[in-house]
């Protein structure tokens, strides 16, 4: 594949990633956010496969495969199980209204595009729009974590954030060392498992959620 074609495909995937991020931000029900984050991880895996064919770097194939199995199948499945065990039907209202969140999201996207345009030499080392898209996904993931009231929403935000970092790392011309990527993936799995267990334990012992924990009692 010629560099222009790869760049176009990465740009297109970046647009779809931003779309899934908007869906996560606007999701009223936790199920939809989980499906959206799974789709997002799938797109990341596709981007990995495209970059692997383009650069001939075998590490990228491994990363794409691991992303596909772990982040599009296993982690959403774990989240889904937690949702079923908790039996939450709908999400608690976010701290700020959805409309305001979306407005902040648009500002973040525009600012990260503006920012990456000023980073001339860094921008050139990365294929297409992967840098601004990655920055936006990371920041918006943090936004989801900050505004979500339940631990599940915060987990979804963590995954989205992590997807953003991954997308940028993949698109760096030389590619990241495989061991670092594997380490990051392991971190995420561990975080997800710990959080899942915590959520279930907390719920089963004290019947409280994150939203109920903002008041200190002496």
């Amino acid at each position: 594949m010629s560099p222009e074609v790869v760049q176009t495909i990465i740009d297109d995937l970046g647009a779809l990633l931003l779309f899934t991020m908007i869906l996560i931000l606007a999701a009223g029900q936790i199920y939809r956010a989980i499906y959206a984050v799974a789709t997002q991880s799938f797109l990341i895996a596709v981007a990995g496969a495209v970059l692997a064919t383009a650069t001939g770097n075998p590490d990228l194939w491994v990363i794409a495969g691991v992303t596909l199995t772990v982040k599009t199948m296993v982690l959403p499945f774990v989240l889904h199980r937690v949702v079923q065990r908790l039996n939450v039907r709908r999400e608690v209202e976010p701290v700020i209204p959805v409309g305001a969140t979306l407005a902040i999201a648009v500002v973040v996207v525009v600012m990260s595009f503006q920012l990456s345009a000023t980073l001339g030499s860094v921008h050139q080392a990365i294929t297409g729009n992967a840098l601004p898209v990655g920055i936006s996904l990371t920041l918006l993931g943090v936004l989801v974590m900050a505004t979500g009231q339940t631990a599940l929403t915060q987990m979804v935000g963590l995954f989205a954030s992590e997807n953003g970092i991954f997308f940028t790392a993949m698109a760096v011309t030389q590619g990241m060392p495989l061991i670092i990527e594997i380490g990051v993936i392991l971190d995420v799995i561990l975080a997800a498992l710990v959080m899942a267990i915590m959520v279930l334990r907390v719920r089963s012992t004290v019947d409280a959620d994150i939203a109920d924990l903002d008041e200190l009692r002496g």
Binding site: D11, D12, G14, L18, G28, V98, L102, V106, V109, F113
Partner: protein, 317 residues
């Protein structure tokens, strides 16, 4: 203006075609919905029969309505029909005589919406006023976003004239390969907006006359006979015009540029295919979602707004 542009008679023929085909699309959507609900459903020609029935009937209007009320259906139909003249159907390409561009189209649709609301208020009915106030709450959320989607394509092509825009896109043989990042987001925004603009679930419900849920239907309650017929025909036309706008902005596949009768037929066939696909999408959305509460509508349309603005940002930055 060059002599090579599209002749005016062709554009007027396209306008007539859209107005005639409008009720058919509604019929198809209703048929698909009925089948998805395991019902037989009325035939696809049912909207035509309804219109014919209404045009044969007499008119009754409330005593408090002014003379303007009688003019509203005709004006609404006229504005919508004029908008239909701006959508490319048979052939794309810069027109010989500029009738108007995409902004004109959106303006005419907004004018029709405004007149409908004014007519509903004029009759003095409680439901009409409620419907009008709700419609006016939703409209400012839809129209700017549609405008932004149009701009995100127009910046690329350098023109807001829909026929020229479609021709610019149609220059490629493989359109999906030619889609840039912004097109994906713009199309996503359009798919979110489409049910809202055509007055369907999850924003509005075209089938119900339950006072708590109506937006558009509530405004038509005071109209009767030929007036109601005009209003219904206008809403059928509005729907097909909106679908035509989407197809002109994103899939001008059929606009082959071939001259002569074969080119026109191919264009018409491709247009029918695109419109049917979008109609199928609407029917599927209507069958698989519930209507949103009124105060849930702004966040839903906010998704479209965010997508459109991001598409515009991607195009500019």
């Amino acid at each position: 203006m060059t002599a090579k542009g599209l002749p005016v008679w062709l554009m007027l023929a396209e306008m007539a075609l859209l107005v005639v085909a409008g009720p058919l699309i509604t019929g198809v959507i209703q048929k698909v919905k009925a089948r998805l609900q395991s019902r037989e459903g009325a035939g696809v020609l049912q909207p035509y029969r309804d219109l014919a029935k209404l045009f044969r009937k007499g008119t009754v209007q409330s005593d408090s309505a002014s003379g303007f009320f009688r003019a509203v259906p005709v004006l609404v139909l006229a504005a919508t029909t004029a908008a239909a003249a701006l959508v490319p159907v048979l052939r794309a390409g810069p027109p010989a005589f500029p009738l108007g561009d995409a902004l004109m189209l959106l303006g005419l649709l907004a004018l029709a919406r405004f007149l409908t609301a004014v007519g509903a208020l004029d009759a003095g009915g409680a439901f009409g006023g409620m419907g009008a106030s709700r419609e006016m709450m939703v409209a400012p959320l839809i129209e700017p976003v549609l405008m932004m989607v149009v701009f995100s394509s127009a910046i690329f092509a350098g023109t807001t004239e829909l026929r020229a825009l479609a021709a610019y896109r149609g220059a490629w043989t493989s359109w999906i390969v030619a889609w840039r990042a912004a097109d994906f987001l713009g199309f996503a925004a359009m798919l979110v907006l489409l049910p809202a603009e055509t007055g369907r679930i999850p924003v509005d419900n075209p089938d119900t006359h339950l006072e708590l849920t109506m937006l558009h239907e509530g405004m038509l309650l005071e109209h009767s006979g030929p007036g109601l017929g005009c209003m219904l025909l206008a809403s059928h036309t509005r729907q097909i015009v909106t679908l035509g706008l989407v197809s002109a902005l994103f899939f001008p596949v059929g606009h082959t540029g071939a001259t002569g009768g074969i080119g026109l037929l191919a264009g018409a066939g491709a247009f029918a295919l695109e419109i049917s696909l979008l109609a199928l999408f609407l029917a599927l959305v209507e069958s698989s979602y519930a209507k949103l509460r009124l105060f849930r509508v702004p966040p839903y349309l906010g998704v479209g707004f965010a997508c459109a603005l991001t598409a515009l940002a991607l195009r500019i930055l």
